[in-house]
Amino acid sequence: MTKTVWQRLTDGVPARALGALGLLAALLLAAPFLLRVMPAGDYWLSILILVVYFSYIGQAWNIMMGFAGQLSLGHALYLGLGGYVAAALYVNLGVGPWLGVFVAIAAAMLAGGLVGFLGFRFSLAGVYFALLTIAFAEFTRILFDHFKWVGGSGGLFLKVEADGSAFNLQGSPLLFYYVILALAAAVFVLCRWLLTSRLGYYWLAIREDPEAAQAAGINVLRTKLLAVLISAGLTAVGGVWSAFYYKNLFPESAFAMGRSIEVTLAPIIGGLGTLFGPIVGSALLVGLGDLFTTLAEYLANTWGIKAAGLKQIGYGVALLLIVMFRRDGVWPWLARHLGYDRRREEKP
């Protein structure tokens, strides 16, 4: 039985869900124009850009943890490395980002391959593997602090150039929005395709029971390595985008533990291993972050209550409540309520 790619991607998806997805895609495509008529439209576009960016890197991280069950708390390594490689190539050698991104992907895959090979070869799992990923990210951070060719701890800056255009990834937020949206859409389809592939089933088997997977004849080391390589490569693209969007890179922030943690939030809060988890989680978390920023401003302006950290306290409380009461993430619960749960459709 041969299926067309479209059939394979949509197999078993309720028609209603497909329709809703199409509507979401259309909305996101039109969003900048809809936002333009709103007050503070530029601000809302910047928020939307963040939502799409975090859903993209969340999706990339999800391949490793959600699909293959390997907890990485060091994805800042691939983000930072990707950003640094493309930015350094552009600033120091004049190689444009559309070419540089491939070098960035290669560099991140090399790093991911090293971390993965060492970790899996010595059969580290769970917390131990997670600590190895942290250690490599921290190690790289300290090395880049002393790496003068890319500016060391003083940072690397991308200038705003007069002849800047889409060819060297310079321009308005609109350009960055559509680039990251295209990336997010592509990685979404890729993840769906991976999940329906043999490799995807191997990953799920390893996630559920590595020993049983091994016994069933799956090459566990190779399969887990593929998850890290794909995840690292995709994450590096996000790093390149982020470097050119923010136009500056510092080892202290590019490789920070906090950045690695940021990557994991959306997919875990949204629903690990699901395709919509990173998207829903990212929208929820960025939305909450914005809500508490507004709230803290309101408190400061109206009541004169000013304290650093108030915004993050609200965010922390929200995070704690979501984790305590939606352990499996928000999306599985939401999907049940919207009737998009596939298990329900399959029941007679």
């Binding site: 907890l71 190895l132 490599f136 190690f139 650093a308 993050q312 306290i313 922390g316 995070l319 984790v323």
Partner: protein, 295 residues
Amino acid sequence: MSADPGQFTLTLLQAIVMGLLTGMVYGLMALGLSVIFGVMRVVNFAHGEMMVVGMYLAWLAFDQLGLDPLVSLPAVAAALFVFGYVLQRTVINPFIGLPEHMQFMLLLAVAILLVNACLAIFGPDTHGVQVDYMFDSFNIGPLVLDAVRVYAALAALVVAGLLWLFFTRTRAGKAIRAAADNHVGALVVGLDVRQLYAVTFGIGAACVGAAGALMLLIVQVHPFLAIDYTLLAFVIVIVGGLGSMSGALAGGLLIGVSEAVAGVLLQPSLKSVFSFGLLILVLLLRPQGLLARRS
């Protein structure tokens, strides 16, 4: 660096001794993490944040009441015990035995709350204590030992000793070890495992609180130290052996020395290269830790 080899050896020796003294406090901090993991298999991702809370409490006692951190230590430890006990009972208990990423996210939320509560209350500035013996030192041969580090290390040793007595000599301590060794068995013989878990988390928190009070003698506190201490505690317990008490202390000494020596041999900004390098080596070659038994 001095060209005189004798002088260099002395500098190195001096750094090693200083590293050992600081390492004792590191060890006490890591001990808390190790106890919590050893008993309930929960990795406390909010450990550095609890350390910083302990530091702030000790600073508050100094600032408001003029108490030396060595004097306020029991009170700080007691406060963190209560905090840890209540936190385990209300928030963490339902997550015992759940997948690591859920525990990680839960404790991450706790960590965000703790560090930002400190930030909101105390602000981003650094605070330190000025004790009378701040500039005192002991001379042992050619070596000069800071009095603050000597007292902090001795106090850390005393707290660790008390903990060892608790786990080996008291009924509650033995019961906790029994629950750690065999969860079902402990339930079968009628131990109140939920209560023991809460006490264990309290003890872990008290340990790190005590370490925080002692650390305040050596460094100044600000909220953003927290994540560095969390990482440091992870490095130490992995190097020593996760869940092993003597391993945590030995790991603390080792990391304390390696940081101090790296500060002499390389630039101070490169000091954590040694600890992270050591962590990677230990993870790859002896993931159960240097001192832990092979399971």
